[in-house]
Assembly symmetry: C2
């Protein structure tokens, strides 16, 4: 048996998230099936982490164990042949024997996308959340600075999560804005050593509320120092969220 790594892109719109479950079609299920059809053996594809229902991935990293004569770099095409149009393997390679896509992940980068518009925009609405109120882009960038570093993100974690620690390190938050003829698109790239359940979506919501003068700087500081859940913004909807990159201590592809 050899260990293989896949770089996978998916549009999460029509899936109940990554992980296999009974009552919804999931990305993991589709990938398991596609690898099985391509190689004729039963496999379980493991990802760097679950993504929630409706969340997208530009570059999810996965591994699986299999015995096959297909050259590693050709696996991508063979698997894609059996995948629906909204999932695509971008790269495939043979991974170190002890590689674990989940346990070895060192950094992840997520992007939360919004567009500021009084009206729904069909060309933006699939991968970004519409914001109808006014947002100060300069304040959005200010908010980013408050979260960088090591903090206890307990206030940003969905209630009931079972984790050892709610402390995480955020390496960087970069805010990209683009204005074209009165319409503004915003991308918030967040890189960290790991994220709690719903953390990115709540972080994005808090930054947006701060930039819309619905939260003060002191609220954000209190949310981090006292883990006060009442000081954070709304948890933003899934469709605006995309897993952009997963980094390891070595090059996989």
């Amino acid at each position: 048996m050899k260990k293989y790594a896949l770089l996978v892109c998916y549009d999460g719109t029509n899936y109940g998230g990554w992980q296999i479950q009974k009552n919804a079609v999931t990305v993991q299920q589709k990938l398991n099936e596609a690898v099985e059809k391509a190689l004729g053996v039963k496999v379980t594809v493991t990802a760097s982490g679950r993504t929630d229902s409706g969340v997208h991935a530009a570059a999810q990293v996965c591994h699986f164990l299999a015995e096959t004569s297909v050259p590693p770099e050709r696996l991508a095409a063979a698997i894609n042949f059996n995948l629906p149009d909204d999932i695509s393997v971008l790269k495939s390679s043979e991974a170190p024997e002890n590689f674990d896509a989940t346990a070895n992940a060192k950094r992840k980068t997520y992007c939360y996308r919004i567009y500021i518009s009084g009206r729904r925009n069909p060309l933006k609405d699939r991968y970004a959340e519409q914001i109808k109120f006014s947002v100060d882009l300069h304040k959005l960038k200010q908010a980013a600075r408050l979260f960088e570093g090591k903090h206890d993100f307990k206030a940003y974690c969905a209630a009931g999560s079972q984790v050892k620690t709610t402390v995480r390190r955020i390496y960087s938050i970069k805010v990209w804005t683009r204005e074209y003829r009165g319409s503004t698109d915003v991308e918030i790239y967040i890189t960290g050593n790991g994220f709690l359940y719903n953390m990115v979506r709540t972080l994005a919501g808090t930054m947006i509320y701060f930039a819309a003068d619905r939260l003060k700087k002191e609220d954000i500081i209190r949310s981090l120092e006292e883990c006060d859940r009442n000081s954070v913004g709304k948890t933003m909807p899934a469709k605006g969220l995309t897993l952009e990159a997963v980094d390891y201590d070595f090059d996989l592809f």
Copy 2:
């Protein structure tokens, strides 16, 4: 009767283009129906120009004549209530009595989008065309300079078109590129006083072929000076094309 103007955004994926026809659902048909439901009167919505099957519009401009007590700025919401999710009226206003969205259009801006990748990318594939071969981004920007100005674009026009003249003026071609972790997205914004049938898609294809060393600078010059059809690139697929803006000599919205 009063004249009204609409700024309309649509995802063209599921439509047979703008203009009403027998064998396909079109954007014009959906808009006519939505305005009729909103106002209870029969109307014909006229656009700045047709868009082909599968082509998108971020900001198509339309007009129609109607008798209504609905305030002009509220028309957008009333019409949107009757439109499918992939068409949205962004703005509505009362237009000058003699306004004609087609005849009065002074400039149009189209964008052709590509992404350079060996594998299909589900997150990009709806509004951009995948290019599998390598493209020199510097040469793409060089190509843009060759087309700006007044030229006879006969070689860039689909055969059989009935037009008085094939001379058009291109005000600017701007090439935006964005690289993120080895993946490159390209946007080609083309602004002109008017475009022939298939002209933008053939222009984009010619620029891309030049940047991929499949056409030479002399080929492009010959295509413009001698209208030589054999010197132009492929007409690119519809899905990568979006009508981004239509300009008039006055502010409509």
